[in-house]
Amino acid sequence: MESIISIKNLSKTYASGLHALKDVNLEIRRGEILALLGPNGAGKTTLISIICGIVNPGSGSVLVDGHDIITDYRAARSLIGLVPQELGIATFESVLATMAFSRGLFGKPHDADFIESVLHDLSLWDKRDEKIMTLSGGMKRRVLIAKALAHEPDILFLDEPTAGVDVELRHDMWEMVRRLRERGVTIILTTHYIEEAEEMADRIGIINRGELSLVEEKTALMNKLGKKQLTLTLQQPLEAIPAELASRPLELSEQGDVLVYTFDCHEEHTGIPDLLRDLNEHGIDFKDLNSSQSSLEDIFVSLVREQP
């Protein structure tokens, strides 16, 4: 698939000596939703800030729809809308005034109808004449999104869009992101809510300590790394796992009444029939069993932990 953003060998070291990005290579596809996951301080915001022109790159190159972000910054930036993480928003002007400012800044002539439609989409139309300082935190967040959309960007960056917002706004945002995607807008979001990436993204990139450790289709990633667990609730608590079964990937709960068997769902032989037979032979009865697949969260935690 065609790339809309092409990042090559991008590195960044801040004046403080912090090595924020280490040789990042990433192709972002036109029209996709890409979620960048990573713990705090992993380099997510630095990456976004460089693409958007807020931070100078160290070395490497970034092309946005074929336009270099340094030499051809006007063309590159015109395509991008950015919703920043912090609520740093000038507070004294009205919602309509700030929308007009954003649109003008990106070189677009004033268009009252378009601005009205964006404000309607984000349930901000009723607040259009209010000063931003009087709005609630959630409403301010909506204003930041509206500002980013004011110039009709083809690419939208959402930096931690739902950090600290209520459930209703979070669902509205997801809804909005889907609508934008239908219109062909490419969306890149950073988050450390894994639920969010799982819910919305087509692909997931994981950043840790400035390195992009992997980028994969969400479903492929979950299949590839997903582990299944079989949980058996026992009739009688065990003191220990019988020696004959110790070679199997089994774990006993502290009270000794739950056995957890972990297996790879892609193996042809899951080992479940063998396990059940062995349990039977040792006279271990169970009253309940259930199997579950690990979530993206488990995958993420295990990936981030793996690294030194």
């Binding site: 100078n56 910054y73 015109s78 950015l82 928003i89 004294f92 002007e93 400012f101 800044l105 990106f106």
Partner: protein
């Protein structure tokens, strides 16, 4: 040229001016009026003429410069410092605008505000003193050049400052003394010869002298030199701004 962006920044900044009209315009006018009352009416009547000009009239160009420099610097400095402080600068940095467009928008608005202020001070002065303007075209030119140059200088201070104190320190500690010692209230020919020479290193001397010439046709230093000095200072400011945006100093790191 991204004209829409220049317009957006300019209008945004001017909206701030109208919002803060009382603080930004009323207080300098009041201060200037107080100077006129004290130095013009009260003390001025006991002073002799300087270079054949009545003292109250003599101090008008200097007083105007005092307000113009201070206001240009603080307007422009605050205009760019506040978005940096609040974080909204991200939008300007991520927009398809060149640094020249950003500067025209912010500095243009700050200079406009200073010019409005300058005109209001001139009108206020009229209530206290009868003055004449011999070279109105030059007077307006000096006014515009000074407003633009010192707005640029303020813009640099706003970019450089990383706390509110730094924002205040240059206008307080540098500009006010330079203006007071730059011949706002006296002619430098009244100083002992040694201090006359020292004074020539004060750039504000050239501003006030040139500006006073446009009013009364008399000056401490040659008008051409005054003009050149303003232009040199403006060029220095432009070069500094260019360097700041090129390297991203205190903006992009």
């Amino acid at each position: 040229m991204n004209l829409h962006a220049i317009r957006a920044i300019y209008l945004f900044e001017m909206a701030r001016t109208w919002r803060t009209l009382m603080e930004s315009i009323a207080s300098p006018i009041l201060t200037t009026a107080l100077y006129f009352v004290v130095f013009g009416a009260a003390i001025g009547s006991r002073m002799g003429e300087i270079d054949g000009i009545e003292y109250a009239a003599f101090i008008i160009p200097g007083l105007l410069m005092l307000s113009l420099l201070g206001e240009s610097i603080s307007n422009a400095a605050f205009g760019i410092y506040f978005p940096k402080f609040s974080g909204t600068i991200y939008e300007v940095l991520s927009a398809p605008v060149s640094y020249i467009e950003v500067v025209i928008g912010y500095v243009g608005a700050a200079a406009t505000k200073s010019l409005i202020l300058g005109v209001l001070i001139l009108l206020t002065a009229r209530l206290f003193v009868d003055y004449q303007i011999e070279h109105p075209v030059w007077m307006v030119s000096f006014l515009i050049l000074t407003a633009v140059t010192f707005s640029l200088f303020g813009f640099i201070i706003g970019l450089w400052a990383d706390d509110f104190q730094k924002l205040q320190i240059i206008p307080m500690m540098v500009i006010t003394p330079l203006t007071f010692l730059g011949g706002a209230f006296y002619s430098i020919s009244m100083l002992p010869p040694f201090w006359q020479t020292v004074t020539l290193f004060n750039p504000v001397v050239y501003l006030i002298s040139g500006f006073r010439w446009s009013f009364y046709g008399v000056s401490d230093v040659n008008v051409g030199i005054s003009l050149v000095m303003i232009l040199v200072f403006m060029a220095l400011c432009l070069a500094t701004v260019w360097w700041i945006f090129k390297t991203g100093y205190r903006l992009k790191n």
